[in-house]
Subunit: 332 residues, 2 copies
C-alpha cells in the first residue's frame, strides 16, 4: 500500500529542521488538465533552507510544502486530459512543493525528460545548472582561453560551473575553504583548485601566469569576496549569488575606485521572472540534454526518504558537505 506524504512547515525558524515534518495526505481527485506525478527525486538547495528560516527573497504563504524542484513519473491524468503519458519522466514545475511522495500539477507545466536518464541528476536541473550557466554567460563577454575564478567551488552551482566552463573552453580557478574539498573539484575538470587564504591573489597570479581575470563568482561573502576581488584584473566584475559565510560582502574602495571592480548580484528567480519563456525553455533543454548524456553532473552526498526529512534538512544546512542532499520518496 502506498504512503502519501508531504514535507510541510507551518512556521519559519532560524533552526530549519525544527519546522519541517512529513505529514500524510489523501490521494487527490484529479481535475481536467491535471496530472498526478509520483516524485522520484527532489534536492534540498541552500535556497530551500533559507526559505525555511525566512531569509530567502520570496517566501510562500504558510502552510507550505518544501522543495522547489524535482522530477517525477506520471501516474495518472485527469479526465479528458492530453499530456505526457503515464510512466513518462517529467520535470516538476518550479515552486510546486516537491518534497512529497506525489504532486498534482497542470499537465501544461510538465516538461518531459528522458526516461532512461538518472532521475537524481535530472532532479537538480532547474536551479543550479541554469545559475551556473547564467553566471558564466550573462555578466562578462568571455572567450575561449579566458580564466574565471569562483569560491565555494565544491557547491552544487560550483560543480556545474566547472563543467560548463570547460565545455565552453574557459579555464577555472576554484577556491574551496578546506583541503578535503580539493580532490572532488579536481575530478570535475577544474584547471586549478586552491584553498582560500590571505595570500590567495598572489597564488592565483602565479598559477594563471598573471592572466587578467574578468569574472569572479562569489557565494561566500565577507572577507572571501575581498580576497576574490583581489584576484581579478582591472575593470572586472564580481557576481555574488550566495552568503555561505553569513557575512556581508566586502570590497575595498581601492579595488572599486582604482581598479574599477564592480560587485553585482545574481538571482535566478529574477531571471525567470524577466526572461521570455522560450529563452528559459531553450536553456533548460540544453542543460537537460547535457545531464541526460552524463556530461553535466553534481555530487550527491546522501539520499533521504520523506520520513527522514528533518535529518535531511539538517544535513543540507550543515557547513561541510560532499554533495547535494536528495529526497528520494519510497514508492512501494
Amino acid at each position: 500500500m502506498t504512503t502519501w506524504l508531504k514535507a510541510q512547515y507551518t512556521r519559519r525558524d532560524p533552526d530549519p529542521q525544527s519546522v519541517i515534518e512529513a505529514v500524510p495526505f489523501e490521494r487527490p481527485v484529479l481535475a481536467p488538465g491535471q496530472a498526478l506525478v509520483a516524485v522520484l527525486a527532489a534536492p534540498i538547495n541552500p535556497s530551500d533552507v533559507l526559505t525555511l528560516t525566512g531569509e530567502y527573497g520570496i517566501l510562500p504563504p504558510l502552510p507550505a510544502v518544501g522543495g522547489n524542484e524535482g522530477v517525477g513519473r506520471v501516474v495518472e491524468l485527469g479526465p479528458d486530459t492530453q499530456g505526457p503519458a503515464v510512466g513518462q519522466t517529467v520535470l516538476l514545475p518550479a515552486g510546486i512543493g516537491t518534497w512529497a511522495s506525489h504532486v498534482l500539477a497542470p499537465v501544461a507545466k510538465l516538461v518531459p525528460l528522458p526516461n532512461g536518464a538518472d532521475p537524481q541528476q535530472l532532479a537538480m536541473l532547474t536551479v543550479n545548472p541554469p545559475t551556473a550557466s547564467l553566471l558564466l554567460g550573462n555578466f562578462v563577454d568571455l572567450k575561449p582561453g579566458d580564466w574565471v575564478v569562483q569560491n565555494a567551488a565544491n557547491s552544487g552551482v560550483g560543480s556545474y560551473l566547472v563543467q560548463l566552463a570547460r565545455q565552453r573552453g574557459l579555464k577555472t580557478v576554484n577556491i574551496v575553504r578546506r583541503e578535503s574539498a580539493v580532490a572532488g573539484v579536481e575530478t570535475l575538470g577544474a584547471d586549478v583548485v586552491l584553498v582560500d587564504g590571505e595570500d590567495l591573489a598572489a597564488r592565483v597570479k602565479a598559477v594563471t601566469h598573471g592572466a587578467s581575470i574578468k569574472l569572479g563568482v562569489d557565494s561566500v561573502g565577507g572577507s572571501a569576496t575581498l580576497r576574490l576581488a583581489a584576484c581579478l584584473g582591472e575593470g572586472s566584475i564580481v557576481v555574488n549569488y550566495g552568503a555561505l559565510s553569513g557575512d556581508a560582502c566586502k570590497v575595498s574602495p581601492r579595488e572599486l575606485v582604482f581598479r574599477d571592480i564592480t560587485l553585482k548580484g545574481f538571482w535566478l528567480a529574477r531571471w525567470f521572472r524577466i526572461t521570455p519563456a522560450a529563452q528559459q525553455h531553450a536553456l533548460l533543454a540544453e542543460l537537460a540534454g547535457l545531464i541526460a548524456a552524463g556530461k553535466l553532473k553534481a555530487p550527491i552526498q546522501a539520499t533521504y526518504d520523506l520520513m527522514q526529512i528533518k535529518q535531511a534538512v539538517a544535513a543540507a544546512a550543515a557547513g561541510e558537505r560532499q554533495g547535494k542532499i536528495m529526497i528520494v520518496p519510497r514508492h512501494e
Copy 2:
C-alpha cells in the same frame, strides 16, 4: 623681496605631515612656450593626503611637490611666447605640484579664468566639482524630481553634489556622521540631512515618502556602505569614490541578490584618462562658470601659508573638518 617656496616630499609615510616640508628654490629661467605663474590658491584634497601616505592609485616619482590643482596669476612669459597675458588668472594644469609660491607651466596647458572671481573657490575647480557632476550624471539616468542619497555630505565633493543636484532638479538625502555637520549641509540647499545610524533606511523611507532611490553615493566605506545600500530601491547603484572610514565597503548578499543592488567605484583620474579632451574642457568650463557666478561653492575651513604646510596637511588629514584646507602662498 619675494620668497620662492615649494612644499616637497622625498618619501611616503602613514603620517603625511612628517614627510612634507617647505623648501626654497631659485627663480627659474623660462624657456620658449613656458609661463611663470604665481600661485594664488591650492587646496589639499583627500587624494593629496593619500598620495603622501602612499595609498593613492597613482604615485608620482620622488622627490615630488605636493598639490594636484590650483589657480595662479601669470607673472612672466618665456621668450617669443604667446599665451595668457601677464596678470591673467589661470587654472594650473593637473598634477603640476601646486603647493608652491610659483610654478613653471607650458602656456598651452593654462586655462584662463575670470580675473574677478574668488581665486580660492576657483582653485577647487579641477577635482571635486567634476567628481560630483560625474557621480550624478554617469551612472544612473536621473530625472528631475528623483532622489539621490549620499554620505559624507559635508565633504568637498558632497557640498558640490548638493548644489549640482539642486540645479538639475534632483532631491538629495544627505548623510553626515555627526550632528555638528548638519547645519552646514542644509545651507547649501540640501533637501534632507540625517545623521548616520542603524535605523537610517527607515528614516530615509519616512522623509522621502517611500521613494525608490536609484543612486547612492558613498565615500565612507565599511558599514556605512551597507546602510546606504539599504536606503535604495531595487535595481539601484551604489557608487563609491572614497574610504573615509578606512574600511572595505560592505554590501549584504541580500541587497545584491534579492534587490539587484550594484556596487561600483568612480575615479576621476580614470575619467580624465579615457575621456576626449573636448568633453573634459566642456565640463570644466561649465563648472568654472558656475563657480565664477557664485552658484557653486565649497566651504573653506582655513587657509595656510606654505611655511605652515605641515599644519595644513595635518588639518586636512584630520577627521572632523568644517571645509577644505587651502594653501594661499604669501606674495609680498
